[in-house]
Symmetry: C2
Subunit: 198 residues, 2 copies
Amino acid sequence: MKPVITPQDRLVLDTSLFVNPEVRNDFGKTPTEALSGFLELAEQIPSLEFYMPSSIFSELMNFVKEEEIPGRFMAILNQKSPSKHEMTCPAYLLYELIEDMRDRVNKGLRIAEKAVRSAGKEDDRELIKGMRKNYRDALREGILDSKEDVDLILLAKELNALLVTVDHGAIKWAEKLGVRWLLPKKFKDYLLSFIDDK
Amino acid sequence: MKPVITPQDRLVLDTSLFVNPEVRNDFGKTPTEALSGFLELAEQIPSLEFYMPSSIFSELMNFVKEEEIPGRFMAILNQKSPSKHEMTCPAYLLYELIEDMRDRVNKGLRIAEKAVRSAGKEDDRELIKGMRKNYRDALREGILDSKEDVDLILLAKELNALLVTVDHGAIKWAEKLGVRWLLPKKFKDYLLSFIDDK
């Protein structure tokens, strides 16, 4: 009889691990190769369970060649959305989210004003392109700004899992919710430590 | 012995009732007069308890002559912040808040782009003034956008109270949280109905 293995820990993974070159390169040169590289390690560690919110998984599929993803990948990486209609969060987080957003909105307005003042002095198309970038950066950097981010932190919370992401907004909110997180640069070493220990 | 009166209901009041002319005029010509007008009715209704979050009360004090507010006003209108560190909210509301904000942020960017394209064609100072207004309107209208708004809906939730406000963002969120709310135009009639019944 096969021995029963109780999982030692659960991990929630973000797309960024396989897409962001700084982290991805630990596993492979392209997103598809990085996935395979991760899979090779992951299947040697029966004591870890890996999860990814479905929304994040869909994002990932935009970066990889779906036909090259081995079927066993789906056995290793569980797709699951958080139970968002059953879970609750502390009400004071609403305040933090709104305060965060207000600061960003004001920053966005400053950027817009600056662009209007510069108009005519340079090519308008370039100016608008630059403004768009600055605006989006100002309004998104370090903030919880997408439902994919919320999926990540809630799923990690629900499963009492270790969150692995490059996203600063998600990390900041993981800390607010008491969710453990792992420095993504250490993700490969973390996995290897389970294999070395065997 | 005085009979014990059990309160029949609790109400959470917003500043807008005493400031917004459309509603205020039911009670008095100025915010200070409106407060007195409300007080005259309210003290005839022992079965209703009135509450206002402290943050909202501070806002109100900017609009009224503090020295003209009678002391018994403070006995009628309870100041209380919601227990925001003990209360929870359904986690899916985080998604709604974030989606709401994303839509607004994109609208803000469209407004900024339009202003840049118009620059040079009209006086820049006027253009920026107009842009600021449009931007703020687009990003705030109908959205839960301040901690005062959150105070209102959470306090109403906590007390299982009837919320009376003119703010569309707060009403929208009251509905999400199952908080009862009263059409502010009907506030005076509502109060009078308790007095007529006596």
